[in-house]
């Protein structure tokens, strides 16, 4: 069933519906699969609008993102939680392979109701902090805005 998911068209769509219905956890994500993470905090972008390396840093592990194939731009950008995120939120895209090149991996960890109060079947997590010394910078170089953020960057300092 997982193999069918990575196919395009009707077969892939049908596999995603079936997996979601059964609440199966996907065991392996191919390198080329697209991941999304919302960006709405102005502290995560430089004044020129580019992403800061801190956006990709989470030494606690379990850095959250959504598997694009199982989500929609709008849902990932606005958030699955009932509180939602601001309208100006952007969506940063990167690939599973980029995370592996930066010294971590990605696993499918769906958020299910119950025990959570909302559901996000597309939810994924980094298995560990990026271990390459320049891992965060490498991610910044490879990532791009799927949906441009509208937040105003914080006025920072340039000498």
């Amino acid at each position: 069933m997982e193999k069918a998911l990575w196919r395009g068209g009707f077969v892939g769509w049908f596999a995603s519906v079936l997996l979601r219905h059964r609440r199966w956890r996907i065991r392996y994500l191919p390198d080329k699969e697209l991941l999304w993470r919302a960006l709405y905090d102005p502290d995560h972008v430089y004044e020129d609008g580019t992403i800061r390396p801190t956006f990709f840093r989470d030494n606690r592990g379990g850095y959250s993102c959504d598997l694009a194939r199982l989500s929609t731009e709008e849902q990932s950008r606005c958030g699955y939680a009932p509180s939602g995120w601001p309208k100006g939120a952007g969506l940063v895209a990167f690939r599973v392979g980029h995370v592996r090149e930066s010294g971590s991996d990605v696993e499918h960890v769906p958020i299910l109701r119950p025990p959570e109060d909302f559901e996000n079947y597309s939810h994924c997590q980094f298995t560990a902090q990026l271990s390459r010394p320049d891992g965060e910078l490498a991610m910044v170089e490879r990532a791009w805005f799927q949906v441009q953020q509208q937040v105003r960057p914080v006025k920072n300092a340039e000498g």
């Binding site: 919302a38 709405y40 905090d41 502290d43 995560h44 430089y46 800061r52 390396p53 801190t54 956006f55 840093r57 989470d58 030494n59 606690r60 850095y63 959250s64 958030g79 995120w85 939120a89 010394p133 320049d134 910078l137 914080v154 006025k155 920072n156 300092a157 340039e158 000498g159």
Partner: protein, 194 residues
């Protein structure tokens, strides 16, 4: 700005022009209506006062000594980073929309001290960075980033001091990552400005 920070930062006062004796280089264009320029950065006070303007030729901004311009640029940059650090103190859990950690007061205090040391060393080296910024991360750490030429230097501060590190990047060279320890700031600022 807390009183503690004010105490921490020195007060400097520079009077403009600094040792300018060759009046032929002066710009004689009219002064702006505000003849005194002050950059007040919560303790770092840089002040230019065209003294006795009635008996001296008017001086335009173009003739400001380059050294004082570098001091002003560094001081202005440090001031903005200081105000950003104060803002991080007020960020609550989940400030990034996910589950970001709030920032420990002691970490903010440490970042301020680090910024003071960086600024002092830059002023001593008489160098203004191209870029001096700070950035918060979801795991409760804070970056202080400097750029000069093609070099980039990140001081990454974690609530656990032992985890804090320096990342240095130079085009064509491998990335350097090392723990932030005693003497690190001096050494890496020297690397940045060399």
């Amino acid at each position: 700005m807390s009183a503690a920070t004010l105490e921490m930062l020195p007060h400097t006062s520079l009077t403009w022009p600094l040792g300018a004796t060759d009046t032929s280089a002066w710009d004689l264009s009219p002064l702006p209506s505000e003849s005194t320029t002050r950059v007040d950065l919560c303790g770092w006070r840089t002040q230019w006062e065209p003294a006795e303007t009635s008996s001296r030729p008017s001086l335009g901004i173009a003739s400001i000594d380059q050294k004082s311009a570098r001091v002003a640029a560094t001081a202005r940059a440090a001031s903005r980073v200081l105000s950003n650090l104060s803002r991080y103190e007020g960020l609550l859990r989940g400030w990034d929309g996910y589950d970001a950690e709030p920032f420990d007061a002691s970490l903010i205090h440490w970042a301020r001290s680090l910024l003071f040391e960086i600024t002092t060393r830059l002023l001593r080296a008489d160098v203004a960075p191209d870029h001096l910024t700070s950035g918060p991360a979801p795991d409760g750490s804070i970056d202080v980033e400097l750029r000069r030429g093609g070099r980039r230097l990140f001081f990454i501060l974690y609530p656990l001091v032992e985890r804090s590190e320096v990342t240095a990047l130079e085009p064509g060279e491998p990335t350097i990552l090392e723990s932030l320890g005693e003497g690190s700031v001096e050494r890496w600022i020297r690397w940045l400005v060399r």
